[in-house]
């Protein structure tokens, strides 16, 4: 048992280390996390009034100042803290809840599955933003509220994916063998099945984090976060409140938006990488590609999924 696990894990880890997309993505995310943790000690005070409001980029303020005369670079760097924190916390919680509900639903089947998948589908079909707005406006603003609201509106998609994966595992021989040998259901789910779903759980976590960062910024942009804290969302909220567009001060919203996009894109790259390393279809495709010259790959022997390099 351990032997199999170890060999799969070593293969995945070496695969991911060798995968160009995954390494680029991890590098970018690592850079942003380091900046978020240590950056605020180096930059100017992000809350201080330093210069004329809305002054363009200059030597003193590399990215200019915002409508409150605060340094945009310092704001962008310290905004990463709470945004990434809430994003990744939400990602973890969404995966845990998704694995719990989706796993139970897919494993037990029958009436439990009917009930739980009804719940999943109801949450899937409900439009997220208006529901988030109602919840966030009733609760006191802050990172806790944001996380709770994002988890409540975001768990269903992961639960659905994990449920269908669980259903395919449920019918495999090793699960039947475990049931026959008298193992408890909880043990089968947690010890036997979940480790085999690790790549799915990892990519679910990354997908949920991307969603959480985007949705969180949207909510804060609407003014539903704590507008006195510095996050990427409140940066954009203030940029729009201070008429950044009508005064032509692009530097107040471009750095924050680019940071969000780069982080999301880096996470997407990690997901592509995980997929390439752990998806058996893509592994066999790589073998195909290495062994068959490109001009020979016509209809019929072309691999099922091809990546876009």
């Amino acid at each position: 048992m351990d032997y199999i696990h170890n060999s799969i894990f070593t293969r995945w880890i070496t695969g991911i280390i060798q995968n160009r997309k995954a390494v680029t993505g991890v590098g970018i995310i690592f850079l942003f996390i380091v900046l978020a943790i240590f950056g605020p000690f180096i930059t100017q005070d992000p809350t201080a009034f330093l210069s004329t409001p809305l002054s363009p980029p200059s030597w003193e303020h590399w990215l200019g100042t915002n409508g409150q005369g605060q340094d945009v670079l310092a704001q962008t760097i310290s905004g990463a803290r709470q945004t990434l924190m809430v994003g990744f916390t939400t990602g973890i919680m969404v995966v845990l809840i998704g694995a719990l509900i989706g796993g139970i639903s897919g494993y037990y089947g029958g009436r439990i599955d009917n009930l739980l998948s009804l719940l999943i589908n109801v949450f899937l079909v409900m439009p997220g933003l208006p529901l988030m707005v109602i919840l966030a406006s009733w609760l006191p603003p802050g990172p806790g509220t944001l996380t709770g609201v994002l988890v409540l509106t975001g768990w269903a998609w992961n639960a659905r994916v994990i449920r269908s994966q669980m259903m395919t595992f449920r019918s495999r021989d090793f699960v039947s063998a475990a049931i026959v040998s008298g193992e408890r259901n909880i043990r089968i789910i947690v010890i036997e099945i979940m480790p085999r779903m690790l790549s799915l759980l990892a990519s679910s976590f990354i997908g949920a984090s991307i969603y959480a960062i985007g949705a969180q910024v949207g909510l804060e942009f609407l003014g539903l976060g704590d507008v006195s804290t510095i996050t990427w969302g409140t940066n954009l909220y203030w940029a729009s409140n201070d008429m950044a567009l009508l005064t032509g001060s692009w530097w107040t919203f471009v750095p924050t938006g680019l940071s969000i996009a780069i982080v999301s894109f880096a996470l997407t790259l990690i997901n592509f990488g995980i997929d390439e390393v752990t998806n058996p279809r893509l592994i066999s495709e790589r073998v195909w590609r290495e062994n068959i010259p490109r001009d020979k790959a016509v209809n019929g022997i072309t691999p099922v999924v091809k990546d876009h390099e």
Binding site: P127, P130, I210, G218, L246, V304
Partner: protein, 328 residues
């Protein structure tokens, strides 16, 4: 035939459950919050609201001295009669009339961009799947994936800044110019289209990549199946195989995804509307948040949910036409 009716009724039953769940959430959220909802609202509006507005608010929320079940019952009854209460920000206008005037604009803007981005994305997805490994296939997916990483509303800000503010190609906001009279006349229609073009374009660009990638992946799987090889062997033309044989089958999962993604895309559309000060649901949502207009917020949640459910049902009907398997 019987089966199709059964299928549609089953789906309809699900939407009723979903609608009921949304209504119930909408009822319980204010009541589950820490503290007394009535006290929270009234504390926030002390001095700002007239006594009659306070009473209207109390009635809207059913915050009477009735027991909870009684409150729930009268809430459901008034909801079914289409009574969403009275807005605080626009007092004394009923929420229903505020929302209905904004609703058409959202349907116009979000509906059209959604349909265009879905059709264009699906078509592009089939084309790049057909010519996989080609030039288009190596450029489009990564660049659209990168654009898709931006928040909808941020891209809207940039587009508004470049094309509206710097270049003045497009107006800076609103749904139509102040120089035209709303109605069925050519200047108004042209003006409305001109005002909708930039917000629609940003929404299409952000959401295009998702449809394209999922269509591409399903299409490539479909192209690997035997019946496609058989069609090739019969000597059918490439275009016929691509569109009538492969794309027709590959589009089905994308259609199902369409219903699911609707709520997500609509959320993005709401934020885009805010950037462009477009007088739709999103703009109302912002007003409601700013004024802490709870009845309006909850009314928006309900109408948007119902719209999404209705659209999903239409998608179900379409699937019935496209997918013979649901009919057997």
């Amino acid at each position: 035939m019987n089966n199709s009716v059964n299928y549609l009724l089953r789906r309809l039953g699900f939407y009723f459950v979903a609608a009921w769940a949304a209504l119930t959430l909408n009822f319980f959220i204010p009541r589950l919050m820490p503290g007394d909802p009535a006290a929270i609202i009234f504390a926030r509006f002390r001095g700002k609201l007239k006594p009659e507005a306070m009473n209207a608010l109390r009635e809207t929320f059913g915050l009477t001295d009735e027991p909870l079940l009684g409150q729930y019952w009268s809430y459901l009854k008034s909801m079914l009669q289409g009574d969403l209460g009275i807005s605080i920000a626009y007092f004394p206008e009923p929420v229903t009339s505020i929302i209905s005037s904004a609703f058409l604009w959202t349907i116009f803007l979000a509906g059209f961009s959604l349909i265009i981005s879905f059709s264009l994305g699906t078509l592009l997805g089939s084309i790049i799947a057909w010519n996989r490994g080609g030039k288009l296939d190596s450029i489009l997916p990564p660049s659209l994936a990168f654009i898709g990483a931006f928040p909808y509303f941020w891209l809207a800000m940039v587009a508004l800044y470049i094309f509206g503010f710097e270049l003045s190609w497009f107006p800076l906001g609103h749904a139509y110019g102040s120089d035209v009279t709303p109605g069925f006349n050519i200047p108004f229609i042209l003006s409305a289209l001109h005002h909708a073009a930039l917000p629609a374009l940003t929404m299409i660009i952000v959401s295009l990549g998702g449809w394209m990638l999922s269509m591409r992946n399903i299409m490539i799987t479909t192209l690997g199946t035997d019946y496609i090889s058989f069609a090739h062997a019969k000597g059918l033309s490439s275009r016929l195989i691509m569109l009538r044989y492969a794309a027709r089958n590959a589009i089905l999962p994308n259609f199902t995804g369409f219903g699911m993604a609707l709520g997500f895309v609509l959320s993005g559309a709401l934020l885009t509307e805010i950037i462009f000060s477009y007088p739709g649901q999103g703009y109302l949502l912002l007003q409601a948040v700013r004024a802490q207009d709870f009845p309006l917020m909850q009314g928006l949640f309900m109408t948007i949910t119902f719209a999404v459910l209705a659209a999903n049902w239409i998608v179900d009907i379409l699937i019935l036409f496209f997918d013979p398997r649901t009919r057997t």
